[in-house]
């Protein structure tokens, strides 16, 4: 945990230093006068690693990390000088599988969220951002246990409220004159979600449900720090 936090702080500090770095003198005037290029839309694809320290996550993973794929789309709503406010939607999907006492186990997490992002363009080719992303987190847990009463997997699904605050920075890789911008961003934040008591049971008819007792794996807190690297296209 301490290592993860240190890395996150380093990342944020590095992003701020990158923004503060002086640009070449001849380009500085042109870029400052140009400001951020107006863009209509930004599409992002990235990978994210989330750290879940909850003990109820242990049956599903050998480590506390969940690798995820991230997609988002945003549209700038407000512009004022170097400041831009954008909004859009984003999704993260990740899964973890392992063995819990010889029983195959898996947990998938799918998050669908709104995104509100404030950007500060220190240069036309780089900006820092702060993002708030409230949404819903869907979790699917499963155990493939031969001792299941009806030979079906023991499963549990949950939908909980989630919100992710994060900060990061982005650098434009494409030329400034191109109407299509290619950006790389790095981001660190905390993904918070409501807890859920994991009770896994095989799907069964209503008549059998009173007979089949779910497996209690305790309360999972699907929240923790995360890091994301993303590639974005703006137009």
């Amino acid at each position: 945990m301490s290592l993860g936090n240190r890395s996150g702080l380093s990342l944020v500090a590095f992003g701020l230093l990158a923004l503060a770095a002086p640009a070449p003198a001849d380009a500085q005037v042109i870029e400052q006068s140009a400001g951020p290029k107006p863009e209509i839309i930004q599409g992002t694809v990235g990978v994210r690693t989330m750290l879940i320290r909850s003990s109820a996550f242990d049956p599903f993973s050998g480590t506390d990390a969940v690798p995820q794929v991230s997609l988002s789309i945003e549209h700038p709503l407000l512009r004022s000088g170097s400041f831009v406010v954008a909004a859009g939607f984003g999704t993260d999907f990740g899964a973890s599988s392992s063995e819990a006492r010889g029983v195959a186990s898996s947990l998938s997490l799918w998050r669908l969220a709104a995104v509100v992002e404030g950007r500060y363009y220190a240069r036309p080719f780089t900006y820092a951002f702060a993002r708030l992303s409230p949404g819903m987190l869907r979790g699917d847990a499963a155990l493939t246990d031969p001792s299941s009463p009806n030979a079906k997997d023991l499963v549990d699904h949950f939908d909980v409220f989630s919100i992710d605050p994060s900060v990061g920075s982005a650098i434009r890789m494409s030329g400034d004159s191109s109407p299509v911008g290619a950006w790389i961003s790095a981001e660190a934040g905390y993904s918070w979600a409501q807890s859920h008591h994991l009770l896994l049971a095989p799907p069964s008819s209503p008549r059998d449900q009173s007979k089949i007792v779910p497996v209690d794996l305790g309360t999972i807190d699907p929240r923790g720090v995360f890091f994301r690297i993303a590639f974005a296209i703006t137009y």
């Binding site: 290592l3 993860g4 890395s7 996150g8 380093s10 990342l11 590095f14 990158a18 770095a21 640009a23 990978v47 690693t49 989330m50 750290l51 320290r53 003990s55 242990d58 049956p59 993973s61 050998g62 480590t63 506390d64 990390a65 690798p67 063995e99 819990a100 006492r101 010889g102 029983v103 155990l143 246990d145 031969p146 001792s147 299941s148 009463p149 009806n150 023991l154 920075s169 650098i171 434009r172 890789m173 030329g175 961003s185 790095a186 981001e187 660190a188 896994l200 095989p202 007979k211 089949i212 007792v213 497996v215 209690d216 794996l217 305790g218 720090v225 995360f226 890091f227 994301r228 690297i229």
Partner: protein, 539 residues
Amino acid sequence: MNDRRLLALALLAAAAAAAVAVAGCGDRSPVWSQPANIDQAFGLNGGVAIVDPPADRVVVLVPGADQSLRVEHVTVGKHILNVQPSPRGNKLLVLSAGHRAPVGDTEPDEKPSLTVIEIGAAVVAHHYELTTLTDPLAGMAIDPIEERWAILYPASGPNQPFVQNPNELVFLDLMQPPETAMAVAHTLHSFGGRPVRLTFTPTLGLPGGARRLLVVESNQDLSILDLADPMNEISIPLTSGTDSRRLTPAAITVDDGDPASDSDARIGVRLQNDSSVITLTLEPDPGTTGFRPTVNLTDVGGVPSDIAFVRTDGGLRLAALVPARSAAVLVDPVTSLTTAVALPARYQSLSLVTDVAGGGAGAAVDVALLWNGGAPTDGVAFWELGQTAGRPYRSIETVGVVSAVSAVLPVPQHANLRVLQTSAASEFYVLDLQTRTAAPLVTSTSSVAFSMSPVGDQVWTFSPGGTQVVATDIINTHPRSLLIERTVRQVLEVETAAGRFVVILHAGGGGGATVYNAATLDDETRRLYSSVLVGGPYQ
């Protein structure tokens, strides 16, 4: 552009480093990667205990109202060596080796220990730390009468100490609380043998006062210890110094003799490799023990398969079954004179059933049940010891059981009943000792296992690895099958404050359980559990 690319690369490198650092964080307990199994499960008074060695714990299942199951985890010492239920089913004793941490080991040091688990309104564990031991003793014997003494002794097998003293016994008084209990070590005065069997006697009238003894059979001698003072020991070599043979004891039997006398308690010994039986009479002696065994060796004409002290109309005798002669031999412990009684079959086992099939407790003569014959039709027989004098051949009464009986199971709270397990295992019998009748029950498979209801109203029959479980009413011998979906490993009926329940354990995966109300056996109210061993937390 070059600066921009450098910045981008640095940004990516920092983010990747952070992601990799996070991905390597927070390993779970290694126990999660160890498979679970329910091979060691015990039915105790109040619940079922499943030993989970990879997790150094015992998982206790406590059935409750509506066939609910409360799951409790009891942490025991690391590296479990031996687990035994107490003879009355009140406790589970778990002996652990502990852990000796070398330099650099993050796992803390832990002494060998004995954890005693009791299930009541709550599950209670008493942890006795065996501080005087460095290397563990894996053998364990539990006092079956008072459940007071746990005696540890060296055992063979893997993971034993580099050097061990095979004659060292460690006595632990379980009546003492763990804070004050001291493990007392004692080395037997060996004549070269090593202990193989420990027997706790009931209270015997002995010179110097009534007390209980521990009889230790080694592979060539016998030791008698006073349980009140284990240092008070007498060791007896069974082999004469002039004899090159090594006589090995096979079993012992004990008799207190006349309750009014303190000088006639006896120990009978049969041998594995000799046709003799040995009678030790514990007579007064001025030494520290207060008694001295007088040894009598009597040849019974063949290697005996079972022995017991019996009361005949001619007085106390040591009865020895000699299958090679199809006979029983009665040995007078005073004169060593023998009387052979021909038997209708080569019975190998006997047990006294005087209480219900004879004149009751305190009767002048005994009745013995003979079983475990060699032929399929040998069944069981009642042997009236009162008629041995003069009419020995008419003293045997066979019962029409047409299978060789391999085990006789007592029925709790029904002293007059026994369940006869047959060698063929495709049938079993409910024997009524009073009416001397045997009701047969036929099974569809020969792979059958049994367990008994603690209140004695039904016997559970099941096929390990199959899905057949049947409860047979012990009084009217009416069988009722249960509806079982998964393969069965064990069937354990337990009684709790909420009622009587039968817990059927299923192997595979994280271990499953089906819980029935043992009184109603209603399929509709049964409850099915999965992965009972999967839940943590783990250390």
